[in-house]
Symmetry: C2
Subunit: 316 residues, 2 copies
């Protein structure tokens, strides 16, 4: 079983190392070994810790052509999209952690995957190792989900938590989060709710099986918040969280991302720092809560590796 | 796709009704309808709300012989075990909610299922709709689970909660739980930790892929607790919970069920009433928490129905 890795950043190198370390485990599980046949990078001369330099290549297209499972962890829209499409058309299973790509092009890519009878999985795109997509898609397949609501962006939650718990002024908390590397290179991704919106779109599609795009998200970031807002919330024993939510509305779905003032007893209120939580309501199951780290190389790799095993099981 | 239901108690009748109500949804999902072809009961003359009387039969063996998916929700060891084995040998997919049967005979039944290349699923056997088995088996397949720890018996948790939060004396709390129907017909199932032990065994096998039986569970129930124990815990700001846990030990696994005094910040400490929680630790994922109702007809039916969809997808 030939696995190709596209990208070797924090997540990619964690995936590459685990494929090596856990080789025996995966061979036992699948009845045959998972062989990492190459790692596509922009600069193959830069060393990658724990990754055999002989595996590095700058020729991603040729690598995709000789894999059964293609794992895209490079991020960005292009060339990720073209390479994934090439892989699907070539009959390879695809795993990606690329939330913006899935949010923007997921429906088109699923159509290509269906046409070529291959799988396209992206558990890592939403809440890292918290397996919310599998739960919505598989475990709740016999139920009717009525609402999905969560804190799905750890960076803004870190900022909001710093203000609420430590009394740090809001602007200062944003500055600290940036300095500590908790915000994306472009901080508006986090602060304006673009990251959360991408996740909300993917959650909405998975939960409700509807077509929905980023443009349909009712989105408000946290940059408009003031220290007064936090003070008022605290006076009422409440906290401000950036809440992503999706629920059916008419024939479609209503998806939003916005700061909400939550009472202390709300399950979303207690979640601290970079932790993510999602609360799913379903007709038969009632309320389910899933919680865990929302980011991190190893945590994201856990979900990617789970999807690789899932994908490998599909390869005949 | 022919579905046979064995048993029509609280869970069975919820499953039967949902198969009817959600017929269109399942047909869309699977590309063909799920047809409930019969419901095996002990007394077919007793009416079952919402279930077509023409579907009721006392001839479970013949019903099993004409189904693609056999759903066992009758409970108890026999005739459930024999009927499941008949179904597997006949090439049917099997779904069961029977935790004692799976804990006692799961390994033998899996061997039969593997031999006949059919699936045996039992998500509903542990924590009702909380999809802990799918998460351990599928989502974390690429990771290494190092510990599973949870409050998995809602009845004892109701009792412990009543003492801790309402100050009800322990013996009185047990009496109230019994009166309200929160304890199994044989209350020792709950109070002596037998129910939790069965779930712990299933969790341990699923998380660690090892052979382990009920006899290997280090089990202490809650009947030995005294009001003094609760008072001491409360003085320290702690709570007593019946904790099920499993972790690797040498070549095998260490599985226990026992009352533990937990500090307030422990994620298991806050869980109230009939709610269940499980905390999974894995090398890459870190800590994941799953929480939801641990019992109830509809909640258990949610998991059974999810497994039915999963099983139906396997039927060629």
């Amino acid at each position: 079983m030939r696995v190709a890795l596209l990208g070797c950043g924090t997540v990619g190198s964690a995936v590459a190392r685990r494929l090596q370390d856990r080789g025996e485990r995966y061979a036992d599980l699948l009845g045959r070994p998972l062989e990492l046949v190459g790692v596509a990078v922009r600069d193959s001369s830069a060393p990658r810790e724990g990754v055999d330099p002989a595996l590095l290549t700058t020729d991603a297209e040729s690598l995709v052509g000789r894999a059964d499972v293609v794992v895209e962890v490079m991020g960005g829209i292009e060339p990720a999209r073209s390479l994934i499409e090439q892989a699907l058309r070539g009959g390879a299973q695809v795993v990606t952690a690329n939330k913006q790509l899935v949010a923007q092009q997921g429906e088109e890519l699923h159509a290509v995957a269906d046409q070529h009878e291959v799988g396209l999985d992206y558990e890592a795109a939403v809440m890292a190792a918290v397996p919310v997509l599998a739960v919505l898609r598989d475990s709740l397949a016999g139920d009717e989900v009525t609402s999905v609501r969560g804190v799905v962006n750890g960076s803004t939650n870190y900022v909001l938590d710093l203000v609420a718990r430590e009394g740090v002024p809001f602007a200062e908390a944003v500055r600290q989060a940036g300095e500590l590397g908790y915000l994306e290179a472009d901080p508006t991704e986090d602060l304006e709710g673009l990251d959360a919106a991408a996740k909300a779109v993917i959650l909405a599609r998975t939960a409700f099986g509807v077509r929905v795009g980023l443009g349909e998200v009712d989105r408000i970031g946290i940059t408009g918040l003031t220290d007064d807002d936090f003070a008022h919330a605290a006076q009422r024993g409440s906290v401000i969280k950036l809440v992503a939510s999706a629920r059916p509305a008419g024939d479609g779905v209503s998806v939003s991302v916005r700061p909400e003032v939550l009472p202390a007893h709300d399950p979303l209120a207690a979640v601290q720092g970079g932790t993510n939580i999602v609360v799913i309501e379903a007709v038969s199951a009632g309320e389910l809560r899933l919680q865990g780290a929302g980011a991190g190389g190893d945590e994201t790799a856990s979900a990617v590796l789970g999807d690789i095993v899932r994908a490998a099981r599909r390869v005949r």
